[in-house]
């Protein structure tokens, strides 16, 4: 068994109103970032788990999404390995 770090992204379904995204969009614009076209807000769940293989780990996380992590009526989800995310280092916001 190996320990895998997964990332589950949960996103409001297209077409559904996303009031939080709307409010952030509005705030960014009034701070002068007029070039923003759209903002949508989702959740990211970082899961560390033991599994036989990468494929097994992904499968488990997918099952979790179906069962409990995502709301099938309002949300889409996406499972990926937390390693391998390209660009962007994790940054302390104040730095």
């Amino acid at each position: 068994m190996t320990r895998y770090s997964l990332e589950v992204r949960i996103k409001p379904r297209p077409g559904l109103l996303d009031p939080e995204g709307k409010a952030i969009h509005h705030a960014l614009q009034s701070l002068g970032w007029g070039a923003v076209d759209e903002v949508r807000v989702g959740k990211v769940i970082y899961i560390d788990l033991e599994a036989e293989s990468e494929a097994a780990a992904t499968e488990t996380a997918t099952a979790m999404c179906r069962k409990i992590l995502a709301n099938p009526v309002t949300e889409d989800f996406q499972v990926s390995m937390a390693v391998g995310v390209p660009a962007g280092k994790l940054e302390g916001a104040q730095s």
Binding site: G15, H26, I68, V73
Partner: protein, 765 residues
């Protein structure tokens, strides 16, 4: 107003490119019968286009058209000198004195909550708030009336917790205190929860505004949120049965609530109304722009013309059909005096909201829809709102229920055994236990007017600047209605009135929510008819006219109907806040007096459900005149300042009512010493749910006076015991048997039960 027939001929409407042709199948998909479709054709003098069909289907849905309930609803008493606005507007309005008027209304969101509990409940609260502030009243209180299946199911816990946080998050964010409600858990609601939300709003009498599109040439403006593809055909969908595959993505888009926008819309709307630039305002609720525009035209006897490309949309490429039927939340339609549109825009801008001119009031009586100047729909407005066919169905009582009612309960009653154990079991049953887990998720104190918070018999909101207050409660025991609809409905109204008088309020008016199954089934229509008849009798006797309400039919899952549940939302007036009375015992050594009589009745009781898993027997008898006398006696006692506490007996009977008074809010519980010597079965005396009973406490030197007032009103009354100290036991003896418990243990059973049940592991959505 020109005649509809003449006007139709003027508009030539040809099918819109891209819209599906109107076939028999499409008509059926829109929930319209063959006869109804023929009626539409004769109104139009031609075949309707797809857009027009959508409009008819929404307006003639059960939700908007009240097809199956209108004839029954006409029987309800609706007038009294204090009624300012009866049924027909967004909310009822009554005079509450000192120049103030109270707008109030209840609304259901059962189907949306079954599909998505959080958003369903949240948008339910949003909708009822808008119904209140479109009358010109500022919302001051929310109540929520909820029902679910048994709590041991994971799905039920998911629905319950989602609904509670939806109700809470929305009301909390807008800043309207929750002052009460109710919740029941019973397998009769498995799969089809009931989510009814009630709102109260206060205004000065002269601030009242109604929703009509008057003044030919005036401008129609859409204000608030943009229109998206949410909940298209929600009104039609609200009128269909749920089935197994109800949460598939093929359903109409879920509506998502935005309480932040609602708060801005609330402030903007009240400012618009105060500014005098608008002549009418209405929420775009079920059936969206279509119903708001046609209803406003219908009330004014005018017509309206709307340009679809002017409606601000959230998504691109929306068709007129979609725009007209969208149920996106937090939107309003306002009618603006011609030339003052800029004033509206200015007010909306201050609140960081959009306003768009989308049409005008016309004189031709038509609901005319343009897309880029081309007429895509043109329908006489009046038949849309008034022409919906109404039906009187056949009603036959189900034999199965007759048999349940006639059942000999003695066969099913377990030996009485240990009464204390049964008592503790009942105290922790979710139907009796404290609802703290719910209302602690609600803001109950914002607006600094909540004199009685949830947890009492009724919530109370004082009116600042006066000595007055208003009280409100929602009540309905669906088991009673199921077992005998007419009596059950009378009990619902009687309980509501009792709850109001317990806090010292005079019952004044009613809003109601009829939650029933499929009315096309004779035994369901029977329930509906009988329940309405029961409500008629009770509201007449109590002089509490019905000023509005809501009908939610087709509450069925896989063909199984919910218990018929006519929720009564009743409001009352308190003239002097100094007389507000609460349910908790207050002083050691005071007398406990029972008003009303115990009986041997156990039918439909929580005791039967908990001990024998049974919903059977006849519901308790109710004598409306005796209820009325009890109400008046208690009010007189309260006004003469005789009482220290008052609490009505409902689920769990006398023993549970005494426990609730003894426990109070848990901070300073009391023991009691009570002796009940009735010649009745002990379980019936303790746990039976006989109607017409209120437990009061008073200083011993007031007891004679209390008994005298009761006698004067011919209300049975007797001293049954005394309030004891915090370290004393809670003791009730009944003919040799007895209950004896420590208040601390009772408190744990009563206050923590719901929270404990909700901590059980989740089982997914």
């Amino acid at each position: 107003m020109s005649t509809a027939e003449g006007a139709v001929a003027e508009d030539s409407v040809s099918p819109r490119a891209g819209d599906p042709p109107v076939t028999a199948e499409v008509v059926a998909d829109h929930g319209l019968s063959v006869d109804e479709y023929e009626r539409i054709r004769s109104i139009m003098g031609r075949d309707p286009t797809f857009t027009e069909l959508g409009i008819f289907s929404a307006m003639w849905s059960e939700h908007c058209g009240y097809k199956n309930s209108k004839r029954l609803l006409r029987l309800l008493p609706t007038t009294a000198p204090w009624v300012i606005q009866g049924p027909g507007e967004n909310a009822g309005v009554i005079d509450v004195g000192d120049g103030y008027a109270l707008a109030f209304k209840i609304e259901s969101h059962n189907h949306p909550s079954a599909v998505e509990p959080y958003q369903g409940a949240a948008t339910g609260v949003g909708g009822i708030l808008r119904d209140i502030f479109t009358m010109g009243a500022r919302p001051v209180a929310i109540l929520d009336s909820l029902r679910f299946g048994d709590l041991d199911s994971g799905r039920t816990r998911y629905l319950f917790s989602g609904v509670v946080s939806g109700v809470g998050d929305y009301g909390n964010c807008v800043g309207i205190p929750n002052i009460g409600g109710e919740v029941a858990f019973d397998r009769g609601y498995e799969g089809n929860p009931i989510v009814n939300a009630m709102c109260l709003g206060l205004m000065k009498r002269e601030e009242l505004i109604t929703a009509s599109a008057s003044g030919v040439g005036n401008t129609l403006m859409a204000v608030g949120a943009r229109t998206g593809r949410d909940g298209i055909h929600g009104a039609t969908f609200a009128s269909e049965e749920l089935s197994e595959d109800s949460d598939e993505s093929s359903r109409p888009q879920v509506q998502v609530g935005d309480p932040f926008t609602e708060k801005l819309l609330l402030e903007a709307s009240l400012e618009l109304i105060a500014s005098g630039v608008i002549t009418g305002i209405q929420d775009m609720g079920a059936a969206g722009i279509t119903s708001s525009a046609t209803e406003m035209a219908g009330r004014a006897g005018t017509g309206v013309e709307l340009e679809m490309t002017a409606v601000p949309t959230r998504e691109q490429g929306m068709t007129p059909y979609e725009i007209l039927l969208s149920e996106s939340q937090e939107r309003m339609l306002v009618v603006v005096e011609k030339g003052l549109e800029g004033e509206v825009t200015r007010i909306l801008e201050k609140w960081e909201l959009e306003a768009a001119e989308i049409g005008r009031v016309t004189s031709d009586g038509l609901f005319r829809i343009l897309e880029d100047g081309v007429v895509v729909a043109s329908i006489p407005a009046l038949p849309l709102t008034e022409g919906c066919p109404t039906y009187e169905r056949e009603g036959i009582e189900s034999e199965e229920i007759q048999a349940l009612r006639a059942m000999d309960l003695s066969e099913h009653l377990i030996p009485e055994g240990d009464l204390t154990k049964t008592f503790m079991l009942l105290l922790s049953s979710p139907n009796v236990a404290s609802k703290r887990w719910i209302y602690e998720q609600y803001d109950t104190t914002v607006r600094t007017a909540t004199a009685v918070r949830p947890g009492g018999d009724a919530g109370v909101i004082r009116i600042r600047g006066t000595k007055r207050a208003v009280a409100a409660t929602t009540d309905c025991n669906g088991r009673f209605v199921y077992l005998e609809p007419k009596r059950g409905a009378m009990i619902a109204a009687a309980e509501a009135a009792r709850n109001l008088v317990c806090v010292g309020a005079v019952p004044t008016a009613v809003t109601n929510n009829l939650n029933f199954g499929n009315p096309l089934k004779p035994h369901i229509y029977y329930q509906l008819r009988e329940a309405v008849l029961g409500m008629v009798d009770a509201c007449e006797t109590f002089e509490t006219p019905v000023t509005g309400g809501n009908v939610s039919l087709y509450n069925e899952t896989d063909g199984r109907s919910i218990y018929p549940t006519p929720v009564i939302g009743m409001v009352g007036v308190i003239e002097d806040v100094a007389t507000i009375t609460r349910q908790a015992f207050r002083h050691e050594g005071e007398d406990i007096v029972l008003l009303g009589a115990n009986t041997n009745e156990l039918g439909g009781s929580e005791y039967l459900y908990v001990t024998a898993d049974l919903v059977a027997g006849a519901p308790p008898a109710v004598d409306l005149d005796a209820e009325r006398a009890l109400q008046q006696a208690v009010l007189k006692m309260i006004h003469e300042r005789l009482l220290s506490s008052a609490h009505d007996c409902s689920e769990g009977g006398l023993a549970c009512a005494l426990a609730e008074s003894a426990l109070g809010d848990g901070e300073a519980p009391h023991g009691i010493d009570v002796d009940i010597d009735d010649d009745l079965r002990p379980v019936a005396a303790l746990f039976g749910e006989a109607q017409g009973r209120i437990v009061v406490s008073c200083a011993p030197d007031r007891t004679d006076q209390v008994l005298r007032v009761a006698a004067l009103h011919e209300v049975p009354a007797r001293r049954i015991g005394t309030v004891q100290g915090p370290d004393d036991d809670f003791r009730i003896s009944v003919r040799g048997a007895s209950i004896s418990a420590r208040p601390a243990e009772m408190g744990a059973a009563y206050f923590d039960s719901l929270a404990n049940r909700m901590e059980a592991p989740p089982t997914g959505t």
